[in-house]
């Protein structure tokens, strides 16, 4: 599942994930007709529309063995909210099946494939921002850190307050832009204080927010998706 932000803003992240997974011997398919998981609609209270989007998505991935999602928030939507949105029992069963087979990328690599040793594609000093949905929704803080700690060619440094929100929050970022920015400023000050060359996250929303802020302030620090720092292994022939 590429997700809407991944599709239109960060297609190179999707490409990197495809190469990464193939390098690990995974057959990657991409069901056509994907749009968005529906989280923006759901979070803003438009649940009928969110349910319709969810029903479509469940259908698209009916035949997938495992579904890998590059954003913690979208994975959370599929895993935690899809079943509850379905009123029809058959739909609900399908939603629950999909929920069980859906994995956020870092979780898929570490918990599903048992792979945690990669070469760094970027080098330098890296820090990690916990995305709220991945951390408090999917209760995952260890998998991404395991990958970053073991990354050869990069150093990992903890980010103080890494569990604090970056201020994105979907439509929150434009409904209350001043508050969202104030939260972001605090986050970016912490990031810069670590001396890291890049802050890594597992959610396109946080990346859009942090990248937007970093580039506006002309910072030398980059915000990267996890997939951008893991170098793919040579494709086994």
């Amino acid at each position: 599942m590429v997700t809407c932000l991944g599709d239109v803003f960060y297609p190179e992240v999707g490409e990197k994930i495809v190469r990464l997974l193939r390098g690990l011997g995974v057959t990657v398919e991409f069901p056509a007709g994907q749009t968005c998981c529906g989280l923006p609609l759901f979070n803003s209270g438009y649940h009928a529309a969110a349910a319709a989007v969810a029903r479509r998505t469940i259908g698209l991935f009916r035949d997938a063995e495992q579904v890998v999602v590059p954003s913690g928030s979208c994975a959370w939507m599929v895993k935690h909210e899809y079943p509850g949105l379905m009123t029809d029992p058959a739909d609900r069963t399908a939603a629950e099946r999909l929920a069980g087979r859906t994995h956020e990328l870092s979780q898929f690599l570490v918990r599903r494939l048992g792979r945690r040793r990669f070469r760094s594609a970027v080098g330098g000093r890296l820090t990690y921002h916990d995305s709220c949905h991945l951390l408090r929704g999917l209760h995952e803080s260890e998998s991404p850190r395991a990958l970053l700690r073991d990354l050869s060619g990069s150093q990992f440094v903890e980010l103080p307050g890494s569990d604090e929100c970056c201020g994105f929050g979907g439509s929150f970022a434009v409904r209350l832009p001043e508050v969202s920015t104030a939260i972001l400023d605090k986050k970016l000050a912490s990031v810069e204080a670590t001396g890291a060359d890049a802050v890594v996250a597992c959610d396109a929303g946080c990346l859009m927010q942090m990248r937007g802020g970093l580039s506006r302030r002309g910072s030398r620090v980059r915000a990267l998706h996890l997939a951008e720092v893991l170098a793919p292994e040579e494709t086994p022939r």
Binding site: G6, A32, L41, G45, Y46, A49, V53, E164, A173, R211
Partner: protein, 473 residues
């Protein structure tokens, strides 16, 4: 009576708060300290997690039979010589307290900190009736002198720096001061001591009402609660109906987690158990004790979407960890109860309409749920409120248009693809290098402070055919 709507829109109020450098300083210091203390307290208390679950179970079980436990509480308070009153609305609650004041000829009332009396706007009513209310909690005393309202559930003057408090004391009390909390506390103490002795009426809230024994429990740190409930002739406690708990055994569970969540203390300095009026042979205590049970929208929610919020202990932990509260403080919310739980309580007391903007004052980061001692799923209920706003069509029309269009777009992939292509054309004049620095309309609120990524020259979907071929080779 519901609370009146603030005069300025929420976004504006939040903006003012962000520009207030004193507020920013005070908030950062206080919330950071609270967060650290809370974390330490629970780190040292491994049984805390299980007790949090237990506390929630007790609250749930009590809500299941709230009428039964309230009956028991009423019987036991009356058996010990107290009087119990029931108020359906805040207006009724004010009326009850004013009646008691009138009947007992009260001229001044000392108060210990109580959000329930804030909720019913009791102080204004007392003043209008010629009774002078005197807040005796240090934080409440400060904001009463400043003619303000609490900006935090347990730290009402959290928005003030010590320098501001020193200036306030100098101006209002005509005393020489320095910006030293110890000196300031001593001054307040001296000022208040006399008031305690003169007051005819003591007014408190209640952290818990124990049904089995008819005991009202107050959790405080300054000892003022004890004086309010024992020195004046008459004591009135105003308690939300959801504060009843079955037994003293249950109380122990709550006391073990309440102060840790609120201030990081193992226990608060004082835990006062009030057992009604003074009885024969007792040396202290009031001649009369009144318990005012307050509904004010709570009972309706037992079967409503905000039911979980009835488990709230009013510890304030969710405020301290909320990234929004930490930036804007409590006053910007505009109602009695601030912060994430405050949005739910405001909706409970004043209806969904009152929070149609506030329901969006959250990035849904989930820190509140994690900090809540009884694990109230605040983010979920905020989403429920947003749903109510959208389904009742009380959101601004522009929002409804945008989300209506988004809904259609995401259900029809062909439309979605066309929109991406269209956006790519429209964005052209705005792209500078690999970012967009300024766009008009909807996203201008984004680009005022942040760059926006442009729609990629080729989306992932447009790249897939090639990627797929590469994979087959």
């Amino acid at each position: 009576m519901s609370e009146s709507e603030p005069a300025t829109p929420f976004r504006e109020r939040a903006g003012q708060a962000l520009r207030d450098s004193f507020l920013q300083e005070a908030l950062t210091i206080a919330t950071t300290k609270f967060i650290g203390l809370r974390r330490e307290a629970f780190d040292e208390f491994p049984e805390g997690e299980a007790l949090r679950d237990r506390a929630r179970e007790i609250k749930e079980a009590t809500l299941q039979r709230l009428d039964h436990y309230l009956d028991r509480l009423i019987d036991n308070v009356e058996r010990r010589g107290g009087h119990v009153h029931y108020a359906t609305t805040s207006e009724e609650a004010r009326g009850i307290v004013l009646d008691i004041a009138r009947r007992t000829g009260a001229r001044t009332a000392v108060k210990s900190k109580s959000m329930a009396t804030e909720e019913i706007h009791l102080n204004d009513a007392l003043e209008a009736a010629g009774v002078t209310p005197i807040e005796t909690d240090l934080g409440e005393y400060i904001i009463q002198l400043a003619h303000e309202r609490p900006s935090h559930i347990i730290a009402p003057a959290i928005h003030k720096t010590k320098g501001q408090v020193a200036e306030l004391f100098a101006r209002e009390l005509k005393r020489e001061t320095v910006a030293d909390p110890e000196v300031l506390t001593r001054i307040a103490r001296e000022e208040l001591r006399e008031k305690f002795l003169q007051a005819d009426l003591g007014i408190s809230g209640a952290n818990f009402g124990v049904a089995d024994t008819g005991t009202i429990v107050l959790v405080t740190n300054e000892g003022n609660g004890r004086m309010v409930t024992s020195l004046p002739r008459v004591h009135v406690a105003v308690m939300g109906v959801e504060k009843v708990i079955p037994s003293m055994t249950d109380l122990a569970v709550f006391l073990a987690i309440l102060a840790k969540s609120a201030t990081g203390q193992k226990l608060s300095v004082y835990t006062s158990l009030v057992d009604g009026p003074r009885r024969g042979g007792e040396l202290e205590g009031p001649e009369e004790f009144h318990l005012v049970l307050l509904d004010n929208g709570r009972i309706r929610q037992i079967a409503g979407p905000l039911r979980e919020a009835l488990s709230c202990l009013r510890c304030g932990a969710c405020l301290n960890v909320c990234p929004v509260y930490r930036q804007i403080g409590g006053h910007a919310y505009g109602y009695t109860y601030p912060g994430p739980i405050g949005i739910l309580l405001t909706a409970m007391l004043n209806g969904t309409e009152s929070v149609k903007d506030l329901a969006h004052a959250s990035s849904l980061c989930g820190a509140c749920l994690e900090a809540c001692p009884v694990r109230i799923d605040i983010p979920r209920m905020l989403i429920e409120l947003r749903k109510d706003v959208s389904e009742r069509r009380i959101a601004p029309w522009s929002e409804r248009v945008v989300f209506g269009a988004l809904g259609r777009l995401l259900q029809h992939p062909a439309l979605y693809r066309v929109a991406a292509r269209l956006a790519r054309l429209v964005q052209r004049p705005f792209v500078r290098g690999d970012v967009i620095r300024r766009v008009p309309l909807v996203f201008s609120d984004w680009t005022r402070t942040r760059d926006l990524p442009p729609i990629a020259a080729r989306t992932f979907q447009e790249r897939w055919a090639e990627l797929e071929r590469a994979g087959r080779r």
